[in-house]
């Protein structure tokens, strides 16, 4: 396959940045998207150019590091697929592919396609934890959890914090990420003690980081590689209203 890539190049956070066009030839359809970029980078290094910086780690779809908007869609055209698990067979020979970083005020570009996602860490710091006694692991059946709750909590816990929801949201909102954590922890008995402070603190941290608000459009859940459902945001809202009424 021969492809034309238009990639966002930005030297530093202060640099203005621009789209730069590259030709890549002899791409195997069995390559992953990141392997295709590796091929480009090897060539760039040989030519003495700066390689394209992009985030990646596990390359098996669970770490949440890879983060690029491919042809206007976070993680590219395949549903429920991270960029590293996206294969070149989903593109056609001769395609032009636009590659951009996540775009959000809360995710400033560090270099090229790498953005700083510490805003998510701030949200987690604000309430994404439980107070549990440390020590040896308790018996699995010591705290019973209803099966539907466990399933729903696990579904939300699948979130890998990649930030695709923010990248996809027309409002640059981090609500799906925040709601996934609220749902995951709030459904389990271990998450009850902090349930009310958690939602208020995490929403406050979300807003402080410069994310926008949710308009329930659902772009986030459509782009989420883990399929976190939009209903989690309803749960966050419900918890928020309950907690806010108690506090005021």
């Amino acid at each position: 396959m021969n492809l034309t890539l238009r990639i966002w190049r930005q030297r530093s956070p202060q640099d203005k940045g621009r789209m730069v066009t590259y030709q890549v030839s002899d791409v195997s359809p069995d390559m992953s998207f990141l392997e295709m970029l590796d091929v480009l980078n090897e060539r760039l290094i040989l030519e003495g150019e700066e390689p394209v910086a992009f985030d990646h780690d596990c390359r098996e779809g669970i770490c949440g590091m890879c983060s690029m908007v491919i042809n206007g869609r976070p993680h590219g055209p395949q549903k429920l697929t991270t960029t590293c698990q996206l294969h070149m067979r989903h593109f056609k020979d001769g395609d032009t592919i636009d590659i951009e970083p996540w775009r959000a005020r809360a995710f400033p570009v560090i270099k090229d396609l790498v953005v700083n996602r510490s805003a998510f860490d701030k949200i987690i710091q604000a309430g994404g934890y439980i107070s549990a006694p440390t020590g040896s692991a308790p018996d699995a059946h010591s705290t019973p959890v209803p099966k539907p709750d466990a399933d729903a909590a696990f579904e939300a816990a699948e979130c890998i914090a990649c930030g695709a929801c923010v990248a996809a949201c027309p409002n640059g909102s981090g609500m799906l990420f925040t709601a996934a954590k609220i749902t995951h922890l709030g459904l389990l008995p271990q998450g009850q003690p902090e349930r009310e402070t958690r939602v208020l603190d995490m929403v406050a941290a979300h807003d402080d980081a410069g994310f926008g608000g949710c308009t329930n459009i659902g772009e986030c859940t459509a782009s989420c590689p883990k399929g976190i459902p939009l209903t989690t945001i309803g749960r966050l809202n419900g918890d928020f209203i309950k907690a806010a009424r108690k506090r005021s």
Binding site: R6, S12, P13, G17, M19, A53, N71, G72, R73, E100, R103, A104, R105, A106, P108, V109, I110, K111, R117, S118, D121, I124, Q125, A126, Y129, P170, N171, G172, S173, L200, D201, V203, A204, A205, D207, D208, G210, F211, G212, G213, C214, T215, N216, I217, G218, E219, A222, P229, L230, T231, T232, I233, G234, R235, N237, G238, F240, I241, A244, R247
Partner: protein
């Protein structure tokens, strides 16, 4: 390749070592608080839309019934309240709701704009519904229409008859066939309200805590059905005048 070392932004080693500082905005100023406020004011306005539509349908009963209904609106609450007092209370509540609805929408729209300072060079169309994408500009169209509508059929300034004693005649004159542009404007505005409600009602329910998959489907269907019924109810009046059913 050691560009991360030169970067002033260090993320490693900062994770979850301390809780974030707790300087909090008032609940209402949070994005969720603003949304809840928008949902509540929106529901108030929807309740008014239902009552208004039912009142409009009185036109099919006849001029006497319609005019009598219009005069009764001024007398609601009497003799407990002096004449027109209830009307003014309702107008005040609705105006506050409209202003609050627009205020929260404007604050959130500004935040959303600020949240993405650099736009995408290539952006797929939003996958959400047309209704969802047009909430903000649709809202502006609805506001302009409401202003026109009050000047037309409440104060009568823009109405060809403008007789406060005979609202039936005002309506019939308003949608006369030669004033087709008024009818088109009215139809477009009602459709804008329909689209606004199709997403708005679902969104309001979600904002107020609707969180199950089953009820998500139901609330989407309800919002769509409600928007269609409301549009049909409102549009029946100008079309009845246009076709001579109401004269």
């Amino acid at each position: 390749m050691h560009w991360t070392n030169q970067s002033p932004i260090r993320t490693v080693g900062q994770m979850a070592t301390a809780t974030a500082p707790r300087v909090k905005a008032p609940m209402l100023r949070t994005t969720v608080g603003l949304k809840v406020f928008m949902a509540v004011t929106g529901i108030l306005l929807v309740l008014f839309l239902i009552a208004h539509m039912l009142g409009n349908l009185k036109i099919f009963v006849g001029p006497t019934a319609f005019n009598h209904y219009a005069h009764w609106l001024r007398a609601i609450g009497t003799p407990l309240l002096p004449n027109t007092w209830y009307l003014w209370i309702q107008r005040t509540v609705l105006t506050v709701a409209v202003i609050g609805h627009i205020w929260s929408a404007a604050v959130l729209a500004r935040r959303a704009r600020a949240a993405r300072p650099v736009r995408y060079a290539h952006r797929q169309p939003v996958q959400g519904s047309y209704a969802g994408r047009t909430m903000r500009w649709g809202g502006v169209i609805i506001l302009l229409f409401v202003i026109y509508h009050i000047l037309d059929l409440t104060t009568g300034n823009l109405n060809p008859v403008g007789d406060k004693q005979h609202p039936y005649a005002n309506v019939v004159a308003d949608f006369a066939p030669h004033r087709w542009y008024v009818t088109i404007w009215y139809v477009l505005a009602i459709l804008a309200i329909g689209f606004h409600l199709r997403h708005g009602i679902f969104s309001a329910l979600r904002t107020l805590g609707q969180q199950s998959q089953q009820w998500q489907r139901r609330s989407r269907a309800f919002a769509l059905g409600f928007a269609i019924v409301l549009c049909a109810g409102y549009l029946s009046v100008p079309f009845a005048v246009l076709t001579g059913l109401v004269r």
